[in-house]
């Protein structure tokens, strides 16, 4: 029940139900000729790891789901793998996804794939702005960039306002006005500082939250039964 995170009444009912199941199974195994010890061992082994059983008994999509193993699912999901509106994890999928590998509408991560806004080492935004070491998107800002508007150290795009090395379809004489204006809006020092600042701020908020809540969950399980923690 430690892993199931149910209220006391639910937890008691589930415990009673599963206890009846195990005792019935032990009784049936003994009737088939197993010794009591073997029957108990077999019943517990067939039941599965407490974490697997407990996670299976969690509410389907709670407001907050924090796990130390497996996939967390909830409005706010935090875990090694996470799926939710706000998903934080090694692999994260959600509206706002943060993690080593993050996929969603707004993402931040080592590998970040987004519809609208992505920050990351490798960053791709299908219909929006990608900011990262390697950036791919409608607007790409970073070290190596590729997009309709590309700004960076090595940039490839329809229009490259700034770049140490640039491959640009349009030149400053032929670029359409709207692209020149848009590129100018994003390529100035102030805008780049804002992007950098947002990136650092998101890291500064998300990483401690993930660390704190994951550690809190780990300590909760350890307090309940130290033997459950591997």
């Amino acid at each position: 029940m430690v892993y199931a995170k149910r209220d006391e009444k639910d937890a008691t009912n589930i415990r009673t139900e599963l206890e009846d199941h195990l005792l019935q199974k032990i009784s049936d195994l003994e009737a088939k000729g197993c010794s009591h010890t073997d029957a108990v061992f077999q019943a517990i082994e067939d039941h599965g790891h407490p974490r697997t059983v407990g996670h299976g008994l969690r509410k389907r999509f709670p407001w907050v789901d924090v796990r130390t193993h497996g996939t967390a699912r909830g409005f706010i999901a935090i875990g090694p793998k996470a799926i939710g509106v706000f998903a934080i994890g090694g692999a994260a999928l959600g509206l706002f996804a943060f993690g080593g590998c993050a996929v969603g509408v707004f993402t931040l991560g080592g590998f970040a794939l987004a519809l609208l806004l992505s920050f990351g080492g490798f960053s791709a935004a299908l219909f929006g702005i990608a900011y990262g070491g390697f950036a791919l998107g409608l607007v790409a800002i970073g070290g190596f960039t590729c997009g309709i508007v590309a700004i960076g150290g090595f940039a490839i795009g329809l229009w490259v306002p700034h770049g140490s090395k640039a491959i640009s379809y349009f030149t400053s004489e032929t670029v359409p006005v709207y692209l020149r204006y848009f590129g100018g809006l994003l390529a100035n020092k102030h805008s780049l500082m804002v992007f950098w600042g947002v990136f650092i701020a998101m890291l500064a908020i998300v990483l401690p939250i993930q660390g704190l809540l994951t550690n809190k969950e780990y300590q909760r399980i350890k307090r309940a039964d130290p033997k459950l923690v591997e």
């Binding site: 009846d20 005792l23 199974k25 067939d46 059983v53 299976g56 008994l57």
Partner: protein, 124 residues
């Protein structure tokens, strides 16, 4: 030996549980045994799969539950179908029959060699 893939079973476990309870109220352990017998060992659903689904069906009001005394004065939870559960089962049964008919026309009858039943089947 062919095994039933987990993806094939996805979404079908609820219907399987509802069909077992169509005959009358039952409890978790007996439901799992009955499922194993009906599946003829091709697939064996474990308690880790069955109990979460039973609770989910109860939350959806497809099942209702009550406690009764079992042997040795143990408390035992019995599940039974609600009217809504019977309706959903009937709809799922119709959907399955339609699907089976279509697939048989697509694939042809009796082309697969079914695995022989065995006591311990693929455990999900």
């Amino acid at each position: 030996m062919s095994r039933l893939r987990k993806q094939t079973l996805d979404g079908k476990v609820e219907t399987m549980l509802l069909s077992v309870l169509e005959d009358g109220p039952s409890y978790g352990y007996a439901i799992i045994q009955e499922l194993g017998q009906r599946a003829e060992g091709i697939v064996q659903l474990g308690e880790g799969t069955v109990y979460p689904v039973l609770h989910r069906l109860e939350e959806k009001n497809l099942l209702t539950s009550s406690w009764r005394k079992a042997g040795n004065q143990r408390q035992r939870k019995y599940y039974r179908l609600t009217r809504k559960g019977r309706k959903v089962l009937a709809e799922n049964r119709l959907q399955w029959e339609l699907l089976s008919r279509v697939m048989e026309k697509m694939l042809g009858p009796g082309t697969a060699v079914l695995p022989q039943p065995k006591p311990q089947g693929a455990r999900i």
